[in-house]
Amino acid sequence: MNAVVEKASWDEAYNFAYLDEQTKRMIRRALLKAVAIPGYQVPFGGREMPLAYGWGTGGMQVTASVIGPSDTLKVIDQGADDTTNAVSIRRFFKRVAGVATTEATEEASVIQTRHRIPEKPLKEGQVLVYQVPQPEPLRKLEPRETETRKMHGYAEYGLMHVRLYEDISRFGHIATTYSYPVMVNGRYVMSPSPIPKFDNPKMENNPAIQLFGAGREKRIYAIPPYTSVKSLDFDDHPFEVQRWPQACALCGARDSYLDEVVLDDKGGRMFVCSDTHFCADRQEKGHRGPMAADPAAGAFARSSDTSARKEGER
């Protein structure tokens, strides 16, 4: 303990990890109840973070209450370590907590994420903190908090199934691809945050601790390790993840989540891993995709500004 404390160095204009101790205690107590009731949204009070909502304040409050001087932090935004959002959150914790940071999933003890679960399987003891813009999976169906509380309280989830089934009658399949609702430990319907449904199966029986923070709505929820997490579906329309006909253009991976990237204004495009560290790690180990030798693709791969590339996609 003392060796770590002596090593700890941060901007001492702030309390360690920015939040005051009373706020941390309150969030910590909420986290313990969240772990004891998997998938249930625990309300918490507490103080504002120095970032606008939408920048992951809920995730940051959770990270700030969990993190210590001996932690190594990774921050990803849509799979990438180097978007503006990820960089600013990483910088923030470097400054207010002096923690080591990394882009390598396997080296991180705490990973804060927006919109993805890393491709590399997580390990016991790792903590994955999700930034959650809207924690209530029933909100689109029922705007009143008093009603959604009741629905969760009595496990009245018929409406949710009706909505998914309406998708099937309109589109022939469930059209929801992000924030695809899950049933946790057979009891609570939970929003996985806006991760692609491709990532949903990774939540189940994961050895790591998964914590979710919603700043605006002030809710915390959790999935403890080795917990049942089922994506809602129907016998005649079982849950399926997205698949791509092609491999990653840069690293050749066939089992990762791919983003479509525009390479030039003549319609040149390619599909690459959204998890930038996973992709770079594979390329370093000698894996090559079909466009690894293409100059435009190579320029893209060398570009450090992934956020520009993400913007380009939209």
């Binding site: 404390v5 360690f16 910590r28 009731i37 998997p38 430990n185 403890p224 080795y226």
Partner: protein, 207 residues
């Protein structure tokens, strides 16, 4: 909560044992251990703490109190703890209000297992707010020397054998009733010395 060094020796505080030396870091480290303890239910976790709390509190019990209690958390103490120097220690270092009624407590601190109140005297939460339930910190003589039981549920990869010692004969029958209330119910953390085992409400226990 006194977040500074707990060496202030007001005259009436003579004999008061110190709390954390580095409250920010020791609370963080203890919290992570408690988070792991409740997340990986049934496994023994050990706190690296140098706390020397008043009898009968073990270091792990005191570390959890200093980490989680404050003026927002009504705390119930059993008679074995309420009789000694522990109440002053908890009041001074945590600022937690001590309550006489089990049902009002957010946390319960139990050391005398033979006189432990039944679990159903504590708050189990409400349908819409199952988090408004008590967490019981129960000090036991050993986390490994008791009768072997099989635990299953969230946080456990399949099943785990756990052997908590010293519990009342009907404790596991009470626990079955508590588990049946899921998602309502109390959560338990057992402590012995510096070690902890978590038993959240979702865990099913069989002999």
């Amino acid at each position: 909560m006194n977040d500074g060094n707990a060496t202030l020796a007001a005259p009436d505080m003579e004999g008061l044992k110190p709390g954390f030396t580095e409250p920010v870091f020791e609370a963080q480290e203890a919290f992570r251990t408690v988070l792991n303890t409740l997340s990986y239910a049934g496994r023994v976790h050990t706190l690296e703490t140098e706390l020397d709390p008043p009898a009968p509190l073990d270091p792990a019990m005191a570390a959890m109190a200093l980490t989680l209690f404050d003026f927002d958390t009504p705390v119930w103490l059993d008679a074995a703890i309420a009789d000694g120097a522990a109440p002053d220690f908890l009041r001074f270092h945590c600022g937690a209000p001590l309550v006489a009624a089990e049902g009002e407590a957010r946390f319960a601190v139990v050391a005398n297992l033979s006189k432990m109140p039944p679990l159903d005297r504590f708050a189990i939460g409400e349908d819409r707010y199952p988090d408004r339930s008590a967490t019981l910190l129960i000090q036991v003589p050993s986390l490994t020397g008791g009768p072997a039981m099989t635990w299953r549920g969230p946080g456990i990869d399949g099943a785990i054998t756990v052997a908590i010692a010293g519990l009342p004969a009907d404790f596991w029958a009470q626990w079955a009733d508590n588990h049946a209330l899921y998602p309502l119910g109390v959560d338990v953390i057992f402590a012995a010395g510096r070690a902890l085992v978590g038993l959240p409400r979702g865990i099913q226990v069989e002999g």
